[in-house]
Amino acid sequence: MKHLPKHLRPRWRYLAVGLESWPDAAIGRRAFQRALWYSAGNLLGDAGSADADLTLLSFAHADGTGEAVVRARHGHVDEARAAVACVSEVDGEPVGTLVRGISGTVRACEERYMGRATASSTQRDVAFGGSERPAVVRGDACDVETESDRVGATTFDTE
């Protein structure tokens, strides 16, 4: 179809979203998109969700950290931010979300907020709670496995 004249094209804002999860969680692009739409549908309703749009444009996740570019309609950025904040689980895996910033173009969004070099993660034993435990260490973050559960710690806790 012939594309719209410029003044009728929707105007978009692009949200750079940082993700965090436990290191063994596998989160896929489709699962995250579904979680995002469910969250928007539940919080804003169908009408609000359609207004906000919330299409996932790019997505990357590995080793417990990830990032995504989410498209939202200009003027509905606050609703989009609220919907992103309400994503608490993807496929049963708890995730933390943080809107790093908002741009008017995908390119500006990627250049400014994306692709920050994340420290590579390593598996090693750390001293935590009085004993040696296996942990995944990524930069300052240190996800420790205890008998029953996982604990998010930092290198400050394990020194």
Partner: protein, 250 residues
């Protein structure tokens, strides 16, 4: 802005991890609600490091490391007002912020009528209720009532609908009587923390005023500052301090 968190062993992340995440999200500080997560601070005794304990339990060391304030708070989760009263008396002298977990009509009533209590947390959880009598008592005693955003962020379906309905009821009563309040996401791990702007956006989506949510987040910091001032040596009573008089005063 401040956030109040549940830290290990009560939650799934240590105080340090909460502090690191909160600093990245733009908070000025965190209040740690868990009883065993921090060593009690601020009474002028030797710091945790001097006593040979791990610095990860010392609020001052954490503050230094992550550049945000770490407030030692405590949450009192008692079965009945009598035992809650004993616990409040025990913790008031060595914790900066004292919270009482509500969720029960008798406990809600107890918490708002005690000026020694700083915050009544989760008043509507698990069948608790709030009314105009409690709101007036909370205002008169300066007890802050918590708006718990946790279920809004993490629950789904009917439970979330009920939590939203409770939040709305609480908001209307608190706003009408001008009772003091705080806002929190009740994060149990670093993954459940949300940035202040996100909480403001969620608040707006569910009918709160953006400014009210910001004030609610700021209120934790105000509480900590007020109580630290009260526990400092020069404090005698509100408006009366021991020390040098101001040179330019008359």
């Amino acid at each position: 802005m401040y956030e109040a968190v549940h830290a290990y062993p009560d939650g799934e992340a240590t105080v340090a991890r909460h502090a690191a995440t909160a600093a990245r999200q733009g908070y000025d500080g965190i209040a740690v609600r868990s009883r065993d997560a921090l060593a009690a601070a601020g009474d002028g005794g030797p710091s945790a490091a001097d006593r040979g304990e791990s610095p990860a339990r010392d609020p001052d060391a954490l503050r230094e490391e992550y550049g945000i304030d770490v407030v030692d708070a405590v949450e009192i989760d008692a079965d009945d007002p009598t035992s809650a009263s004993g616990a409040v008396g025990n913790y008031r002298s060595d914790r900066t912020v004292v919270c009482v977990v509500g969720g029960d009509d008798a406990l809600n009533r107890f918490a708002v009528e005690q000026a020694r209590v700083d915050v009544l947390v989760r008043p509507m959880a698990g069948g608790g209720d709030f009314n105009h009598v409690l709101a007036k008592a909370a205002r008169d005693n300066g007890v802050r009532v918590e708006f718990d955003f946790g279920p809004v962020l993490r629950e789904t379906g009917g439970r979330r609908v009920r939590a939203l309905a409770d939040l709305r009821k609480l908001r209307e009563i608190v706003a009408h009587y001008d009772a003091p309040y705080v806002v929190s996401a009740n994060a149990r791990s670093h993954l459940e923390l949300r940035a202040p702007r996100e909480l403001v956006a969620v608040g707006e989506a569910i009918g709160f005023d953006a400014e009210a949510v910001r004030e609610g987040l700021q209120a934790w910091g105000d509480l900590a500052e007020r109580n630290r001032d009260r526990r400092s040596e020069g404090f005698i009573e509100p408006g009366v301090r021991r020390g040098k008089y101001e040179e330019d005063g008359c």
